[in-house]
């Protein structure tokens, strides 16, 4: 087999690039994914400003390399792959970053299921704190699979790791979250926002 047969020129890219302005194709294919990229970057960095910078850089890199993208293929996966390559530059810093919560949220931090059997109701802040306490590798596959809807094979491809690694990280993340939120999962209780909780009675001496 010769090399041309192994690596055919992706003709579809050239056809679309020639027939439609690059800006229109980029707007249609790439721009709708900014929200998803920002949501994931924010959850993984726990830093809103850094997340915005990363997404902005992701989109600029994608724009510069857009002549390489074949329209109609998985643009979301391609963008997330660029994002994760940028995230890898910050990897050591992100690993070292502790989970921080505001003092107002501190009282909502979940401990373990066993600590609160009587009230299997968790606020969204508590659930987010439980997610944020997962190691970065587990947190990233969990968000990609559950929130962004990527399949295990797609996650393996965009994070450049083996599919078995994806599945074991996903499994460990689920075990960890079940240990924290188990009561809410076993009951019919649903989450409530802090505002939905019954107000505490006023303190009277």
């Amino acid at each position: 087999m010769n090399r041309e047969a192994l690596f055919p020129t992706p003709v579809s890219m050239l056809e679309v690039t020639d027939s439609e302005p690059k800006t229109q194709v980029f707007e249609r294919e790439a721009m709708p994914h900014v929200g998803s990229l920002l949501r994931t970057a924010a959850r993984l960095t726990r830093d809103a400003a850094l997340a915005e910078d990363l997404v902005q850089e992701t989109m600029l890199n994608a724009w510069k390399a857009f002549h390489r993208f074949a329209p109609g293929t998985n643009c979301k996966g391609w963008l997330f792959r660029i994002l994760f390559n940028l995230l890898s530059k910050h990897r050591r810093k992100l690993h070292a970053r502790p989970v921080t919560v505001s003092l107002d949220e501190a009282s909502d931090l979940p401990t373990t299921d066993a600590d609160r059997p009587a009230q299997p109701v968790f606020t969204q802040t508590e659930i987010l704190a439980a997610i944020d306490r997962l190691p970065l590798e587990q947190r990233s596959v969990l968000i990609l699979a559950v929130v962004e809807g990527f399949k295990c094979r797609e996650i393996a491809d965009l994070q450049q790791i083996a599919i078995g690694t994806v599945m074991s990280r996903l499994s460990r993340a689920r075990v960890e979250l079940r240990a924290t939120l188990g009561a809410a999962l076993r009951s019919d209780a649903s989450t409530t926002s802090a505002a939905d909780r019954p107000a505490k009675p006023p303190f009277t001496p």
Partner: protein, 261 residues
């Protein structure tokens, strides 16, 4: 399917993976086993809780979109430049001239300081990650990867040995570093993607010596956030690039050398 198999396959099932037959098998088991049905319901509830907590895209995503559009307009107004691979190729004659100068001087010092090949390998590794990952020119099936390796380096044994060393090749393509064709193999590792550039042994490999493994000199250098290393056996010249630490990269090189010898 039994309960253990159900439990093992559950994460993939929830991530919408698996063949229709595998998914049907899961669903059949869940209908027949109350305990596994409860496990499935719990995991689905967990997914709902996660999605509710993480929520929709942040409200300021629209402002960010506007900023990105401004960036793109500014970028579009810059003078047109050729795609990176052609810009890069303009420097190949200069890189080749430097390499020839080093060879003519036959100075060990010059040889030790010549890192142009590693720089080219790092550039190709970065382009792979940012530009070419989705361009359809990669061999991804094991048979196609082995065929590529046979075409480029005369043997498919290298990819097979990497696989047996626990580093399966995810994809491969032909690239040119300093005008010489290499097989560019991409592997997964816990530290991130690793690029391995392989060709039949040719001229001497240059660059600072990092260590000697089994009488083989391992050369290389760091460039920005990337580490590169290279070595030569009787048959092959191999370069390795990743953004992991030097220690992790040298571990991989030692493993590879161990499986080649």
């Amino acid at each position: 399917m039994n309960c253990d198999e159900f439990e093992t396959a559950l994460p993939a099932y929830l991530a919408s993976d698996g063949t229709p037959a595998e998914r049907a098998s899961m669903e059949t088991h869940a209908r027949e086993c109350a305990q596994c049905a409860r496990r499935l319901a719990e995991e689905r509830r967990l997914d709902d809780l996660i999605r509710e907590a993480v929520g929709p895209a942040p409200a300021h995503a629209n402002e960010l979109r506007q900023r990105i559009r401004r960036d793109l307009v500014l970028d579009a107004k810059r003078p047109a430049v050729r795609p990176t691979r052609w810009r890069f190729s303009r420097w190949l004659p200069l890189a080749a001239a430097i390499a020839v100068g080093g060879w003519l001087g036959t100075s060990q010092l010059v040889m030790a300081r010549d890192t142009t090949l590693y720089r080219a390998a790092v550039a190709d590794h970065v382009r792979d990650m940012t530009e070419r990952a989705n361009d359809g020119a990669w061999a991804t099936e094991p048979a196609a990867i082995e065929e590529l390796a046979r075409t480029a380096i005369g043997t498919n044994e290298f990819a097979a040995r990497l696989r047996s060393a626990g580093h399966p090749v995810l994809r491969a393509r032909i690239c040119h570093l300093q005008g010489t064709a290499f097989a560019h193999l991409v592997m997964a590792s816990d530290g991130g993607p690793v690029s391995m550039f392989v060709r039949r042994s040719g001229g001497p490999l240059r660059g600072p010596v990092l260590e000697v493994v089994n009488d083989v000199q391992v050369r290389g250098c760091a460039m920005e956030v990337f580490e590169s290393a290279g070595f030569q056996t009787a048959a092959l010249t191999v370069l390795v690039v990743s953004d992991s630490s030097r220690g992790e990269l040298l571990d991989l090189v030692r493993t590879t050398l161990g499986h080649l010898s």
